[in-house]
Symmetry: C2
């Protein structure tokens, strides 16, 4: 059986940011067996090919492919001669590198050969040249090749050229972006499949070259069915490395050590999803709900957040045995206020951890570790309940918890405080603003490590720029995270209050009743403009009684194909956190993202009003 110990994994240097040295260190650090050397990385390197080979050997990395050789074939005899000279020079480089396979892409130049017999002859001649050196050519159809743009066409040519040093390179992007059918791979003898490149991509309606050069993703981060693709390649008898080749504008400028781990995680998850002979990973134990959300607070924000939790109907029910941590509860909604934790530099309060109920916390941690999630040191004392935790891509600590007498609550001494509550029953979701570089990584992380389903997401035009968001959820929706990110990195910009704050959303079965209770308790609810409700009235045939309730209580509204969503927000507390109250009606499955521009404008206004005299408003 092919498993992690026998199947080799490689990554193209073009996937990673930095100089060649940075890339090698990152690839080796993430556990890759080999690399594809992208020519521009070598050209810019001070290492000779032999020095590069030695450095790779030191790091335990094989060099599996040299690439690319472009525009090999030509209708112009002078160009053909020049290309033979170029090929000889590159074969010298390959010999010094100790790599035996070169990628030759189908030509994109205007002088590309369009006669298949002639093209096969030119490929044969090049393979002869390579074969004399003990090298081999993997021929790949670029999706935008002048004459050859589909994998079947490239296979026709390889078969016609009929040379032992000539085989195919299959690239999932080039095949799947053209709607190619991987089922046909089984017609190719396995020993003619010289190389395999794997990349995912979102489904985009754009020029395929631009799509390929800027928007590729690692497997599992896009829309392609890569388990089926890889399954077909392996079923055809491919025995070479599984190699990632991802051109992505964000990965090109992100920390390569992180990107390489993300890349390796994508391969492990892909292999585990194979239809035949899957990689065996520890299973992801079921997650049954949110156990708690932990906010780091300081001396200034702690009392403010505690006061607001009180007004939201929470009771301070527990005090940690040894640390300055308060437990606040309402129904099964739980918030920890930790005055002893490190906070981000840009806020006095922040979501630093979330705990999910796992039916097997130890198993959850084992799954996470197998998928390269950074396991965090258990900072809780010896006498206290063990909590396994891993770091999410945005730095949030994710705890695997069991809420019960023998679990984490045992760390807390009861205060005896109670509250009548305001109708909040549980944590609906935690909203986490993602660092610009971590959005795609985060989707794959939660999907593979925690077994959550990543939704397709949405994009809204917010006051300070476009924002993308998507939910990641357990199948039964007991655990929900709402991830968001700016479409373009922000920072150093003009707008205050960016990045957008994080939030914790609590569920109620009666949004109107809860809203009434919160207002009576003096909770700092965010003012919603009257224009918003006027527009709802104009656009939707809402029940007049419902609309009156929405207006009276400052509730926002959304609907999807199944149901409806009523929600309200608090003001931002301590610079980086707010709370939300949500009611889901009849299976509504979103997060009211369409209303977030209204919220952001209101949050900005509230911040300005805190700082200066209030301007004229017509909010309620």
């Amino acid at each position: 059986m092919a498993d992690r110990s026998t199947r080799r994994r490689a990554v193209a240097t073009v996937c990673l940011s930095g100089t060649l040295e940075d890339k090698l260190v990152a690839a080796a650090g993430a556990g890759f067996d080999g690399i594809e050397v992208f020519e521009p990385d070598l050209v810019a390197s001070p290492w000779s090919p032999a020095e590069l080979a030695a450095r790779c050997a030191d790091l335990g990395l094989a060099i599996d492919l040299y690439q690319p050789f472009r525009d090999l074939d030509s209708t112009d005899p002078a160009t053909v001669a020049r290309n033979r000279r170029r090929a000889r020079a590159k074969f010298d480089v390959m010999a010094a590198l100790g790599v035996d396979t070169v990628l030759v892409c189908s030509a994109v130049a205007p002088d590309a050969v369009t006669d298949d017999d002639e093209l096969a002859a030119q490929l044969h001649a090049a393979a002869e040249l390579a074969g004399e050196r003990g090298l081999r050519i993997a021929y790949e159809a670029l999706a935008w090749g002048t004459h050859v743009s589909t994998w079947d066409h490239s296979w026709d040519l390889v078969r016609a050229a009929d040379h032992p040093a000539l085989g195919l390179c299959l690239d999932s992007f080039h095949v799947l972006s053209r709607g190619g059918d991987p089922a046909g791979f089984t017609a190719v003898p396995g020993d003619k499949l010289f190389f395999l490149q794997l990349a995912d991509a979102p489904q985009l309606s754009m020029d395929v070259l631009q799509w390929s050069r800027h928007h590729r993703l690692f497997p599992g981060q896009g829309a392609f069915d890569l388990p089926a693709f890889l399954g077909s390649v392996l079923a055809a008898g491919y025995a070479g490395p599984l190699s990632l080749e991802v051109f992505n504008d964000v990965f090109r400028q992100s920390d390569p050590a992180r990107t390489a781990v993300d890349a390796m995680r994508s391969l492990l998850a892909l292999e585990a999803a194979l239809p035949v002979d899957p990689l065996v990973l520890p299973p992801a134990p079921a997650l049954t709900g949110h156990a708690f959300t932990e906010l780091a607070v300081d001396g200034s924000s702690g009392p403010v957040v505690a006061d607001v939790l009180g007004r939201l109907g929470f009771a301070h029910t527990g005090q940690h045995r040894s640390k300055p941590v308060q437990l606040w509860e309402q129904g099964s909604a739980r918030v920890l206020l930790n005055a002893g934790a490190a906070r981000p530099a840009d806020g006095e309060a922040a979501v630093v951890a979330l705990a999910v109920e796992s039916v097997d916390p130890t198993g959850s941690a084992a799954r996470a570790e197998a998928l390269l999630a950074p396991v965090l040191p258990r900072t809780r004392g010896n006498a206290e309940a063990e909590l396994s935790a891993v770091a999410a891509p945005d730095g949030t600590q994710v705890f695997f918890a069991r809420t019960g007498p023998d679990g984490w609550p045992a760390d807390f001494l009861p205060t005896g405080e109670t509250s009548a509550g305001a109708g909040l029953t549980r944590t609906d979701h935690v909203g986490l603003t993602q660092p610009f570089d971590a959005y795609d990584e985060a989707g794959l992380f939660y999907d593979s490590v925690l077994g959550l389903d990543a939704g397709s997401g949405s994009e809204v035009a917010a006051p300070f720029g476009l924002v993308r968001s998507r939910g990641v959820t357990t199948p039964d929706r007991g655990v929900r995270l709402a991830l968001s990110v700016s479409l373009l990195r922000r920072g150093g910009g003009w707008a205050p209050g960016v990045p957008d704050p994080q939030h914790v959303a609590f569920a109620t079965d009666d949004a109107v009743g809860t809203a009434r209770a919160l207002r009576a308790a003096g909770a700092p609810l965010l003012a919603v403009p009257a224009n918003y409700h006027d527009d709802l009235d104009a656009r939707l045939d809402l029940d007049p009684a419902l609309l009156a309730d929405l207006r009276e209580h400052g509730l926002l509204y959304d609907a999807d194909a199944d149901g409806a969503f009523l929600h309200l927000y608090t003001e931002v507390l301590g610079g980086r956190v707010f709370f939300e109250v949500v009611q889901r009606l009849a299976g509504y499955d979103g997060y009211g993202a369409v209303n977030s521009p209204v919220r952001m404008a209101a949050h900005r206004r509230a911040r300005q009003e805190t700082r200066a005299a209030a301007p004229s408003t017509r909010s309620r």
Copy 2:
């Protein structure tokens, strides 16, 4: 004659970042006469429509358009009825705003009417509803409308509907992205042209909706022929405001005050380029060359840069009469080292100003002022030569100078120092790394304010991310600036040495001889990898003697359709500046951008070697 005093200018709130309040202040500050209110901005605002109208009146802004009304027509009678209700509600809002025109886009919904007679009837009915309220409908064909996607089709429908409250809205993006012909506008009576929206865009091969929503630009920043478009609209008798409607991801998150000025500048330049009745602006006097480039230095970097200039063959020829400023000269290449100027926070040395030779410095300043360039206070003393200066979008000071006995050199006392030189004759170009938000603004700035031509530019995959660059030049190439920017904003990232440093490039007529002289003088030339020259050898049929020279002297090479380019770089000095030496052969017109990844990798290596023990290298 239509000129600035009679023609009204407007901007859609969707062009600007922030809340409605931010947008109004920005639009008024840039001198706009009116705005288009984009509905989501109003919905998120705490102002009632009447309060918004009052605020606009306070700021001297008319409300010229309310938009958009989407999906008005439908094949479903229930939807038609609901849309009438929605229209009545929005007409109430418009009455309170005091705006008389609403934009109705062609429908994009699946239930859009596809029978032209029925569609005209529904438009007629809507116009009747509007007309009763004294309002009017401007109907616009969206380029991706379900049934109506061209302006001629929208005009057929308006004509068929035949209602005085129904007219056309022409949007340059929707017309020109579909290849529509503006010459046909003259067939439309001027009083049926209810509104005009102007936007430019780069020529992109992508889904037209995404192109429109993310990549629009202000006039003059893209590829559309807007003077011809606007000329046709005006020739047809349009008498309404010239209104900008630009959806752009970067503008959405940039300082709105700056964006509004950029927008107004684009309109002024557009009107000045009209084929008939152009706006009269002060002409841009000819610029004949680079007078000097000024670097801010501190006590640590000043001596280092001075030492390097000496090794490059410059002589310290002048000392400022009253300030700690040195003049260094070689041929007509001149560098000022200013130890008294403010530097950016991230470097010990930086390009802070450049001076261009103007045949009429006062006229250049008048042109700049008319195009809203920030005129800088003249900080030079009273007894000293006057130098008019404006701030470029990146903050660089641009001086309009005349080099001669009565000009700025009179501020400098001769030191009597001389140098044999190293063959540098003049400043070829100044390379300015642009802030992420300012790239498109900068192109228009240099084009309109200084009369430079902005080239189409290029994009390269650099070690730390994709980089765009383009030259802006005088027609005779006497003044050249090379602007570059990261494709995505960087910052807070992992890579050292970003943003990329700025540079000054000097011309030589003998790159090999100059390189030999610089090496003999011990100039800190950047090491170029042997792999780079091996690759040149493999790819190009270079004269073996030339290749040997390139190898020996660490020169880089590029070629374009006309000629070739030999160049070399120094190491980075003081964190933010390096020098380049270039030789242009036979009319080469680029900047060797293809070699910049090699340079960046080498600069990173040199920085690392400065900090730590040098790793094994094979550079010369």
